[in-house]
Amino acid sequence: MQDVNYRPKIVAFCCNWCSYAGADLAGSSRLAYPADVKIIRVPCSCRVNPLFILRAFQRGADGVIMAGCHPGDCHYTSGNYFARRRMTLLFSMLDYLGIERERTRVEWISAAEGAKFSKTMNEFAATIAALGENKRLEDLRCKK
Amino acid sequence: MSHDKKQAQLDEILAASGVDVRKCMRCGKCTATCPAFDEMEYHPHQFVYMVEKGQIDKLAASPSIWQCLSCFACMERCPRQVEPAKLIEAVRLSVIRAKGANHLKPEEIPALLDADLPQQAITSAFRKYSK
């Protein structure tokens, strides 16, 4: 049974130039999203190693989302294009292993899209809350 | 009418129409484009404003609601996607859904007919005017 006090843990990797700025705009526009979402700033979505995502799941994250500049708008020209291929393959593999696909997501959110940032995080948090705890990729040793 | 009842009435109109009246920027394009303007007491932009102010009763009592042609011109041309025709329809529905409040009664029909009038007109009128 699901713990009534269950609060999902969600890690959001945001690129510095677009999505992190989008999060700032969501903040300054007071567009709320659940506190379960915690952001890690990376220079570019291409900095996100699949290892980090698995690590988050290992440590008990219930959902991991990566947000970057829209394709074509990468601050570093091509970073998000590479990130897109990597995440496509990784997510497909997680799906193949029977790990709920909905626990991982990629969104392209520009610095101007504070509303999209908030909406995305709300949606994602709701999806994860509905899925419940991540049981398939967590490392029980990391639980207290 | 009590405040609660008024609010419920307003909520019903807003839900049935799906219109967000707060989007209106009072440009008046709807009223500028309305072909039935001359027949109306309240005009499309007033509909939006009056719904926003909760004056549903005034609208419901107005002959204006029977004069809208449902030509969708105000919906098509509204720059803010407010779509006043939907509000008019929702108010009209709230009137005819109330018991015995049909605007058009079957016994009134024969007098209005002529030989060429297409069925379409009668059916439409029934849809628009009665439950």
């Binding site: 294009y81 799906d95 040793r141 | -």
Partner: protein
Amino acid sequence: MQEMMKKRAIELLANGTCDRVLGWTNGDFAYDQTPALFRTEQELEEGFVYNGFSAANLSKYLVKECRAGGKILVFLKPCDTYSFNQLVAEHRIKREMIYVIGVACDGKADVEKLKEQGIDGITAIKEEGDTYVVSTIYGDKTVKKEDVLAERCVNCKSRKHMVYDELIGEAGDVIADCGRFDMVEKLEAMTPDERYEFWRGVLSRCIRCNACRNVCPACTCEQCIFDNPKSGVAQKAAANSFEENMFHIIRAFHVAGRCTDCGECSRVCPENIPLHLLNRKFIKDVNTFYGTYQAGEDPAAKPPLGRYEKNDIEPGEAGGVKA
């Protein structure tokens, strides 16, 4: 075949084309061959074997040999040549230091399958047409090749050598409809729960012996991140299920777009985990999403994760989620 290869190796040693030969030799048992280095005619005469048990992909061993200098002769089966090309593309081996003899192959025998056929006490194996003649301490037995072929050879993708300096045996062709993705498709058709159960079932057998990594011709890192205490992810023995997931997913990801599907990982796994199904999933996805790509086919080709298209598929659109 074995004798032709041996003769040619001796010639090439003698004329100075190479100073050592990388080939196969018997281990404790005839079916348990290992890669071996031969420096003299005598060593070759005594130890060199090539038969239905010569399964190992020798290309990986060239990484070390290239560092030792000199000129190396290597025997490569068709599937091994893909790995060879990939290693050349990644600058792990130097083409000019290596003399490649391509050797024809129509599949290797799986000793487990032979045992299932009741063949024990094996001392030697010989190919005769589409049969193997297996010598045992109980006498010779003949079996149909197709009945005892190693798993990876059943779905062999190519009998064509991608690279060689000379060829022994007949040249073959790429096998387009080899059916190597059949099992991947079967898994894809399952529900996530069924897939999870399948993988839990097989991966839970993992003992983290690292054999898959050690034999993999794409895993030639100077130091594997899983062995590097500074990486922050070093792990040794599998402590729980996450360990296997993490290790195998990351290993598959690290070789994605580079894995030639040689099948060595599954061949050497002592727990018979079908690890090649992970790699094949990536290969299939790459083919579907980014156009057909075969690692090792063309050393000049740009790998799928080293390039992109502006209209690539979005991660959310990839694959199907079955409820």
